[in-house]
């Protein structure tokens, strides 16, 4: 090798290494600014500190898991059409790597409206997205594009119809239709809210109420995020190894989700709840609850033990259930109660109705 060749190769290698070094430094500074511990999704920096519930799913690993393929096979059959995982121009199977969902802190709705108002949540999806395609999809369905601090938010108002679906002569959407119900009848449907899709980063979109999407776009290193919430972070660190988990404040979440007050009063006082699942060839699930005091935890453990014993009695006649019951473990000390179990494809097969064999019709 001549000196000229050697210098050229070394020079190219130096350029490459300098670029990689600079990029690595920028990445480490970015991670540090995000303030998210290793093993947890970086998108937690967009979750406010007072979030009541946070959920995470490693969509890519779940979609690639054998369990998911088995579920798909069971639901569609050998020659069935595989389900489409596309929504709003986003292919969940190919485009999305992970999602984080949170429920922000809000005052409880009036008791009369508790069943009518859906809890507000924001979904943050990280992956590869084509902004023009998503915007086109939403605008085709009646959405409008808004600029927020240089970033686009596509908002679909709850009363906006898709322009292409309106046949000619149809009255505009705001025209009140004649009511067929007797007067003073309370409406049964839940109140729908405006929905928005915002492009927080080129590889991160936020889907949810417009104000939460704007909040996510405005989030910066200076704003407090959920990493400052010690309770939820402790739970998250415990579940970080799973590829799907949800943690939250049980009391606030149960009120917002509309859990009947009769059920809530029957349950021991739970402070925090976490559930996780590691999905590969089966599902290894774990549920963890923190109660207000040790007595409540012991009470809850007694209830769960009773339920497990009852389930084991019922499973005596079914060998596949017996194998599943062997994986159930109850543990925890102090105010902590933990329940773990395994779900295998065989167990799911035992619950699904068997299809009759297809016999060819006689000529």
């Amino acid at each position: 090798m001549t000196n000229k060749s050697r210098y050229f190769l070394v020079g190219s290698a130096v350029i490459l290494l300098v670029g990689l070094g600079g990029g690595m430094l920028a990445y480490m500074l970015y991670q540090r600014a995000a303030g998210v511990p290793a093993g947890l999704p970086v998108e937690l920096r967009y979750v406010p500190a007072d979030a009541q519930m946070v959920a995470y799913a490693d969509v890519r690993s779940v979609m690639a898991s054998d369990m998911r393929r088995e579920l798909e096979r069971m639901t569609t059959g050998r020659r069935g059409q595989p389900p489409l995982y596309e929504f709003a121009g986003v292919d969940l199977e190919k485009d999305v790597n992970r999602v984080v969902l949170y429920m922000p802190a809000e005052p409880d709705p009036p008791a009369a409206d508790a069943d009518r108002q859906l809890p507000r949540v924001l979904l943050l999806a990280q992956g590869k997205f084509e902004q023009p395609r998503i915007e086109q999809f939403v605008t085709d369905h009646g959405g409008v594009i808004e600029d927020h601090h240089g970033k686009h938010i596509v908002i679909r108002h709850q009363d906006a119809p898709a322009p292409s679906t309106l046949p000619p002569g149809t009255p505009p959407p705001n025209t009140p239709l004649p009511s067929t119900q007797p007067p003073n009848t309370p409406p049964q449907r839940r109140v729908q809210r405006d929905m928005a899709v915002g492009f927080v980063q080129p590889d991160l979109i936020a889907i949810g109420p417009p104000e939460l999407v704007r909040q996510a776009i405005d989030a910066s290193a200076a704003t407090a995020n959920v990493t400052a919430n010690a309770d939820l972070m402790t739970l998250m660190r415990g579940e970080a190894s799973a590829n799907a988990w949800v943690v939250g404040r049980f009391d606030a979440v149960s009120r917002r989700m509309g859990l009947p007050s009769v059920v809530r009063t029957q349950m021991p006082p739970l402070r925090l709840v976490a559930a996780s699942a590691t999905i590969n060839s089966g599902v290894k699930a774990a549920i963890r609850a923190q109660t207000a005091d040790a007595a409540a935890a012991e009470q809850l453990r007694d209830v769960v033990r009773g339920a497990i014993s009852f389930a084991r009695l019922q499973a005596r006649s079914r060998p596949e259930l017996q194998d599943a019951m062997k994986t159930v473990e109850l543990s925890g000390t102090g105010t902590d109660v933990q329940l773990s179990f395994m779900v295998t494809p065989d167990l799911l097969h035992s619950f699904t109705p068997q299809r009759p064999p297809v016999t060819p019709s006689a000529p």
Partner: protein, 277 residues
């Protein structure tokens, strides 16, 4: 007089590599490699200059395309679909074909080295030279484009690492395939270009298992950027594609690489090259 001692396969490979680097870097084809690697950098400089001057460069459906999206588009449309396969075709086919055309292959065969080491040594020279030209070009484009529109270098750095890895793997696999074609086929460059712009494009859009017989099928599944829906062919490809997993794509690409190199070495060892007078 003692006959010259036969070099080990590794020593012979390294010796051929040493000579091959100089031949590759300072040949006529280097002009093309410089254009292929420098063109995207020039384009990135233009985009960055326009952005600095306050002119928004690319808009799709009225939406300004940010730097990371532009970089992803260049990876797809320029590097993955053009630069890597064409460099593989130009240089990979020339590894053996140039020696045959220049009638210098006889001198290599008279050396006390395994014939297979000639292919492997030249292939390594090709890989090092093309990687150290293309990857710095990608790095430069990344640093120029990413900050456009508020993109974050820190946030997108993991994607860059994946891009560099997959482009290096693409150069390696295409090089191995075209090295075999160069050793086997009389007019290897034509065959190589037909393979890249003919077979691969058609096989990727035809429904069925044909696409699994292309290198592009496995490479495209590794790209961390959204595939730009720029034309009908891309749209059809995305409609019918069922992307393989990352692990199986990498495994298949390595299998193609090893098979291509082995076949090229085997061809050189067994074939009689009749040089035109």
């Amino acid at each position: 007089m003692n006959p010259p001692r036969r070099l080990s396969f590794l020593a012979a490979t390294l010796r051929v590599f040493d000579i091959g680097v100089g031949q590759l870097l300072w040949s006529r084809r280097t002009v093309f490699m410089a254009l292929a690697a420098g063109g995207p950098v020039l384009l990135a400089v233009v985009f960055r200059g326009l952005d600095a001057a306050g002119v928004s460069t690319i808009r799709v459906n009225g939406v300004r395309v940010g730097g990371p999206a532009m970089f992803g588009g260049m990876i797809w449309l320029l590097y993955l679909r053009f630069v890597v396969p064409v460099l593989g075709a130009f240089y990979g086919t020339a590894l053996v074909a140039d020696e045959v055309e220049d009638r210098t292959i006889t001198y290599l065969f008279t050396r006390p080295i395994a014939r297979g080491s000639i292919v492997v040594g030249k292939y390594l020279a090709y890989l090092v030279c093309t990687s150290l030209v293309v990857l710095p070009s990608v790095m430069a484009v990344y640093l120029l484009l990413t900050p456009i529109g508020g993109g974050s270098i820190g946030a997108t750095f993991p994607s860059l690492l994946k891009d560099l890895g997959l482009l290096a793997l693409g150069l390696a696999v295409y090089g191995a395939v075209f090295a075999f074609i160069g050793a086997r086929v009389p007019r290897p460059l034509v065959a190589g270009l037909v393979l890249v712009f003919g077979w691969e494009q058609v096989a990727l859009i035809v429904p069925g298992y044909l696409r699994r017989l292309t290198v592009a099928y496995y490479l495209q599944s590794l790209v961390p950027h959204a595939m730009p829906q720029d034309d009908t062919i891309t749209a059809i490809q995305s409609l019918f594609s069922e992307p393989p997993s990352v692990e199986s794509s990498v495994a298949w690409l390595f299998a193609i690489l090893v098979a291509g190199l082995w076949l090229a070495a085997r061809t050189l060892e067994t074939r009689e090259y009749v040089l035109e007078q």
